[in-house]
Amino acid sequence: MLLVQVIVGGLLLGAIYALFSSGLTLIWGMMNFINFAHGEFVMLGMYVTLLVVVWLGGGPATFGFAAAFTLFVLGVVVYLSLIRYVLRGPMLAQILSTFGLALLLRYTAFWVFSANFVSLPQTSLSGTINIGGVLMPVPQLVAGLIAIVLTVSLHLMLTRTAVGSQLLAVAEDRSAAMLMGIRPDRMQALAWGLSAGAAGIAGALMAIAYPWSPSVGETFGLTAFVVVALGGFGSVPGALFAGLIIGLIQALSAFWFGPIYKDIVVYALFVALLWLRPQGLMGKA
């Protein structure tokens, strides 16, 4: 029974990782671009949620939408004012730009909201569900469901809609897409908006489960990179599976070997797996 509880807990944690990483993998895959500021996007989503709850008293639907919308706009603005110019530059310039952006966003939040930890007042999503003796906290459960919904809809959007094919066309070959009458700039701005919007939703859900401060992005940031790399850069369903697997490995290794070893196990397996399968779990070779 205990083991079942550990496994369920690991999967629920994995869902949070998947949620956190879905936007990251979109950008990574489409533009071969690492966004070091993704954790800061999630952090801003959490603060937007707090402001909406405290000022407007909105429920999950309200603050979820508010966070997604605000971050979508931020994503587009960031693309148009910064990313557009470094996108075709050297990889190192890309690292510089989003690393600088991450510091800028984190410490702007620090300035505005102070370094103190905050948490959301109780909402309708608090509490625990008991299924046959296995306990499941509602916020994580909802996060898990939303992660699946988000992944599936992003995947469907990319593979089944016209906008999706245009996005993928730009990712595949920018100039060819341009010849087809697609405006790459517009598509890529949209991708950044979607990625940041997904981060906003992740932030809104994580705000229910976690206390946070402006540096919360670091807590999840590194794990998110592992999730994305393991899933295969750019594979949205890959990120979901990788997130669940990493959550599960962390929970089991924390339970069996002790919590300080859980990250060691994840990183060791990650390096081993990259050696055996350099393209990630679901990435194309």
């Binding site: 990574w28 071969n32 690492i34 910064l82 110019y85 470094v86 530059g89 050297p90 990889m91 190192l92 310039a93 890309q94 690292i95 510089l96 730009s97 690393f99 600088g100 952006l101 991450a102 510091l103 800028l104 966003l105 984190r106 410490y107 702007t108 620090f110 300035w111 370094a115 590194l222 990179f225 592992v226 790399a229 850069f233 300080i260 070893y261 990250d263 060691i264 990183y267 060791a268 990650f270 390096v271 990259l274 050696w275 350099p278 990630g280």
Partner: protein, 335 residues
């Protein structure tokens, strides 16, 4: 300037190429005479240390284009070795430096074999993972002081402990190491090895088809880079007299090397030096002016300037210099 004149009459071309080197060397040698206060000397020492580690990173990250974000693993091994020798055996910390170099080279070869199969972001991710693995492991390992870390001798037992009250000896020791590293790098730049590295950066497949043994070249570059990064780590811990998992193996240590090299110009001899010349004074100045206020303005400015440089000078500040410098020279010579 006569010494710079080539035998075949390329004197006009040579002067602009060598003069900055002479000026730079003179500036660095004379800095302690101008800024003799211990605080400014310490900033100078910090700058040199940053320049050494970024230049060491530059060999594999810049010239060969293999963006490692885990160089802290070598820095940390280098930082721990001297203090471990002191703590365990009571040796002078400096005696640990060769061990740090040896461990780092061994580690470089060990991880180079599997990770160099990976390219681009996968390689970066793998290096991060290895560095984090080592950091967490050191935090649980009692022999190396676990989370609390190791300390050096509080007061020197003799000159060989290299524990000085003044910053001046550190400054010149660090400067000498930097000079050796840059000489070596500039030699490599002109040798076959350097061409191989740049060929790999330009395209691995093409390099291979030209007969470059890609894997072996990469590992040799990593080993060389690791050795110097390790020396940087040793210098750090001997000077600071302290190391813990975060200051030795922390991801910020790795990121700082990448940022400095990228800021100045990766794959250029003086790129990392220039990057450190911008970043370290910037860090010190913003922290001096705004740090005590505690508003976080330090990092807002710091982050903002990094973003602006990435936006307007994606190739690093060195490119800007290359574009501007010849014009200045021309004007001078015309006058």
């Amino acid at each position: 300037m006569v010494a710079a004149t080539g035998p075949h009459g390329q004197s006009v071309k040579k002067i602009p190429a060598l003069t900055p080197t002479v000026l730079l060397a003179a500036g660095l040698l004379l800095y302690p005479l101008v800024f003799s206060g211990p605080f400014y000397l310490d900033i100078g020492v910090t700058f040199l240390l940053a320049a050494i580690s970024a230049s060491a990173w530059n060999i594999v990250g810049g010239y060969a284009g293999q963006v490692s974000v885990g160089h802290a693993m070598f820095f940390g091994l280098g930082a721990y070795s001297p203090l471990l020798c002191y703590t365990l055996f009571g040796w002078a910390p400096i005696a640990g430096i060769p061990f740090g170099i040896a461990f780092s080279i061994a580690l470089a070869v060990l991880i180079g074999i599997p990770t160099f199969r990976l390219t681009g972001h996968y390689f970066s991710m793998a290096t991060i993972a290895v560095a984090e693995l080592i950091r967490i492991y050191f935090g649980t390992w009692d022999l190396v002081g676990a989370a609390i870390g190791l300390q050096g001798p509080a007061t020197a037992r003799g000159w060989w402990d290299l524990t000085f009250r003044s910053e001046l000896p550190y400054y010149y020791i660090f400067l000498a190491v930097l000079a050796i590293l840059l000489c070596l790098t500039s030699m490599i730049e002109r040798r076959r090895f350097g061409y191989y590295l740049r060929a790999i950066k330009a395209g691995e497949r093409a390099a291979r088809s030209l007969g470059v043994s890609v894997q072996q070249t990469k590992i040799r570059a990593l080993a060389l880079s690791a050795a110097f990064t390790s020396v940087a780590g040793s210098l750090y811990s001997v000077k600071t007299g302290f190391v813990d998992p975060e200051s030795g193996f922390g991801i910020l240590v790795s990121v700082q090397m990448v940022i400095i090299a990228a800021l100045g110009g990766a794959g250029r001899l003086y790129g990392p030096l220039l990057g450190a010349l911008i970043l370290i004074p910037l860090q010190s100045a913003t922290n001096t002016w705004f740090g005590g206020g505690g508003s976080g303005l330090t990092f807002i400015l710091y982050g903002g300037i990094i973003v602006l440089i990435a936006r307007y000078e994606p190739g690093g500040v060195f490119e800007l210099w290359e574009n501007v410098a010849p014009r200045i020279w021309r004007r001078k010579h015309a006058a």
